[in-house]
């Protein structure tokens, strides 16, 4: 009997040893010179890049597809598929000239036909696409030649160029989609990008191979494997064990730890993403005193220190440093005493707290849940009793539409363009699903600014708006978000101010 057991145990131990031993071999094989494995927090929503706006998916889309315009690491607009563009002074039309040397992965030549299809025909055909919202002003796209076209808008679209480099604006192949069908496109996507999709496992991995016919600079990395690892601690383990060469969105303390370990490099990159509280203009927040008190009571520096290693810049406006809408001289103080005074004016205080609802996500962005809980404690000290509820990101829109959001919601907003319209112009626009604030003193200003075509006037208007919104308690900005990146020491990448981690910019040194 003992022998039988011994044999069994021996076999299992042997297997385990073999497994452990070969795990070492596996590790060494991963770090090739023209291959890279990236640990990514989320899968893409769909291979149709126009379908769902997901900031986290943009770097992956940008590998397989191209946008008409691109941004450089400092976020200036640069020509990409569009060689030249000119927005009319009244912003009612935009003339574009496309490159003539671009081919889709299946060999089809890109032309203005695809441009019209992507930004007009697809949208009008009724397919459910998020680009239907970003390009709803498009009245028509007049094709002048295979490379020249004019977009016509039914109302001024001053940020049309910025949107060409923003969420969801990727060129898709008209002929391929029309002949093979949308379902085939979604399972075997074809783009013009520097990489081709060669393998896809839902929620598991994406494998890309270099497009050797790419019209632009050839990427140094020939093969990119993106492993979807949803759990932050699993991502940390993956980079630690060498299973991946690079990963993002790991806890901030891990960045400090990896920074000290040899063979690794770790960075906290501030990006054009804002962490803020979306607030309502009614319920318990109808009272401006309560709103302003809530803002003054938050110690943003403490939040940054506790959860972002001091790397997250506290914000007083809904814009990040370095973007046109930012106001470096305007500071909204952390002052719990002032907060108590505001509350006292409405007969509230630590003994008689005002009750509000507060929603947050958990895991949507690093430390979201921690920040929310810390804020609840800060509010308690001044006399605001917040009932915290965890929601899924998608639920925010549903609650907003039904006007069932609580008074405050912790929110993270990405604006890869840096343009102030895509900060306050969306976050505080009562006509858009993102804003919980429906008050028209701020709302009307936002709506008006969307039609201003002159760039300088527009920017000045947004700077005023940003200040006004905060002073009237219509928004509570908190911090500039940081992107945490951990990578093998000899893997470099281009650092974009909006946090894009592009495989085509990576190389081994």
């Amino acid at each position: 009997m003992a022998l039988k057991l011994q044999r069994r145990a021996f076999l299992q131990t042997a297997m385990a040893i073999v497994a452990a031993a070969s795990s070492g071999v596996m590790r060494a094989a991963a770090a090739g010179n023209d291959a890279v494995t990236i640990g990514w927090p989320n899968d893409i929503p769909s291979w149709d890049p126009n379908q769902r706006f997901t900031p986290d998916a943009q770097p992956i889309f940008k590998a397989v597809f191209d946008q008409p315009l691109d941004q450089d690491p400092q976020l200036n607009l640069v020509a990409h598929l569009i060689k030249r563009w000119s927005l009319a002074p009244d912003a009612l039309s935009m003339a574009v000239e496309l490159r003539d040397d671009v081919k889709f992965h299946n060999g089809d030549k890109m032309s203005t036909g695809d441009f019209r299809y992507t930004f007009f025909e697809r949208i009008k055909s009724g397919t459910k696409l998020d680009t239907a919202n970003s390009w709803q002003k498009v009245q028509d796209i007049v094709i002048e030649s295979p490379t020249r076209a004019v977009m016509k808008f039914d109302s001024p679209a001053p940020t049309a160029p910025q949107w060409m480099a923003f969420l969801g604006s990727y060129l898709v192949p008209k002929r391929y989609i029309e002949t093979a069908g949308l379902d085939t496109f979604r399972s075997k996507p074809i783009g013009t990008g520097p990489y081709k999709l060669v393998e896809y496992e839902l929620n598991s991995r994406i494998v890309l191979e270099r497009n050797d016919d790419y019209w632009g600079p050839k990427p140094k990395i020939a093969r990119v494997t993106i492993q979807i690892i949803k759990d932050p601690s699993a991502r940390v383990a993956a980079i630690q064990s060498g299973q991946v060469d690079c990963t993002v969105n790991v806890p901030v303390r891990e960045v400090a730890r990896f920074g000290k370990e040899s063979g690794f490099a770790a960075e906290l990159n501030p990006i054009t993403r804002v962490i803020l509280l979306q607030v309502r203009n009614d319920l318990a927040f109808a009272d401006e005193n309560v709103r302003l008190a809530a803002h003054h009571a938050i110690d943003k520096a403490a939040l940054s220190k506790a959860f972002y290693g001091d790397a997250a810049v506290p914000l007083s406006v809904v814009a990040t440093p370095g973007t046109p809408g930012y106001l470096p001289d305007f500071v909204f103080k952390y002052d719990p005493e002032l907060a108590r005074q505001y509350l006292a004016r409405s007969n509230y205080g630590p003994g008689k707290p005002v009750a509000i609802g507060f929603a947050t996500t958990n895991g949507q962005f690093p430390s979201d849940y921690d920040i929310a809980r810390a804020i609840v404690a800060m509010w308690k000290k001044v006399g605001i009793d917040a009932n915290l509820e965890v929601i899924e990101y998608a639920k925010y829109f549903e609650l907003n539409r039904a006007t069932k959001l609580p008074e405050a919601t912790l929110y993270s907003w990405d604006n890869a363009t840096g343009d102030p319209e895509i900060f306050a112009g969306y976050l505080l626009n009562p006509k858009m699903p993102f804003s919980a604030w429906k008050g028209m003193e701020v709302g009307q200003k936002v709506i008006d600014l969307r039609g201003v075509a002159d760039y300088d006037r527009r920017i000045a208007g947004y700077r005023d708006l940003n200040r006004f919104a905060v002073e009237s308690g219509a928004t509570i900005p908190l911090l500039q978000s940081v992107l945490t990146v951990v990578r093998k020491q000899n893997l470099t990448y281009a650092k974009y101010a909006n946090g894009w981690l592009l495989p085509q910019s990576m190389q081994w040194t």
Binding site: P232, S233, Q240, R253, A302, K305, A306, A377, L388
Partner: protein
Amino acid sequence: MGGPISRSLRSARVLVALGLILGIGFCAAFAASIAPRDPAEQNLVATLLPPAWVTGGDPAFPFGTDSLGRCILSRLIYGARTAMTVAVFASLGAMIIGSILAHITGYFGGAIDWIIGRAVDVWMSFPPVILSLILMVGLGTGLDKVILAIVLVDWTRFCRVLRSEVLLVTGRDYVAAARLLGFTHWQTLLREVLPATLPLLITLLSLEMAIAVVVEAILSFVGLGVRADQPAWGQMIADARQYVYQSPWNLLLPIFAIFLTVTAFNLLGDGLRRTLDVRLAQSAR
């Protein structure tokens, strides 16, 4: 029932288990006096401290702090309160519903037995974890919802196991004799059947408490358990996973707390089973 009770109290298992349970229950009941600090008190400058016996630890926080600077020891103690509350009320609820139905169906048989039996079959063909997840999505989060969800899922286990016992007992002579003597159905049930099934009931209750603690931990871990402001061991584990490289203790300590509590209830159930000499059907763990 003097005999079984004194027998149980002489069993080492039962004594150890009772000791553990009383200890944990004591923590739960007197948490306010025992816990060194308020479990919700945040210290943003003292986050993720190790336990006091490790370098870098602070004696003010004996077991260290979590990502919000809250005292782990205090949270463990208050977490015991959450766990014990769920354990006691959820298992009592499941027991009451399950045993009432079991006694009725086993004793009366016939159509009622068939209907309830089929209902139990349907209910039990659903994996319990899945069912509780779905229920929590529908009911919303909160301590009372967790208790309700566990009751709704687990009453079937009591029902099925007790029913066979009830059938066995009902078939015995003294029950028939009671009926012949003129006792009503209810009187017979209460005076003759129930005392005979009581040992099994108590054993099942103890095991159910173990299960309830685990289910609560699972639901809190997935984020569908008690509210955010209530300390719960499952929530502590979920939080600690993100920081496992820096503060392994934050993960290990609540795991140990769950392990200790569940072991205590399992030991008690096992000890009672032996001393009360009852043959359990091969029910779930």
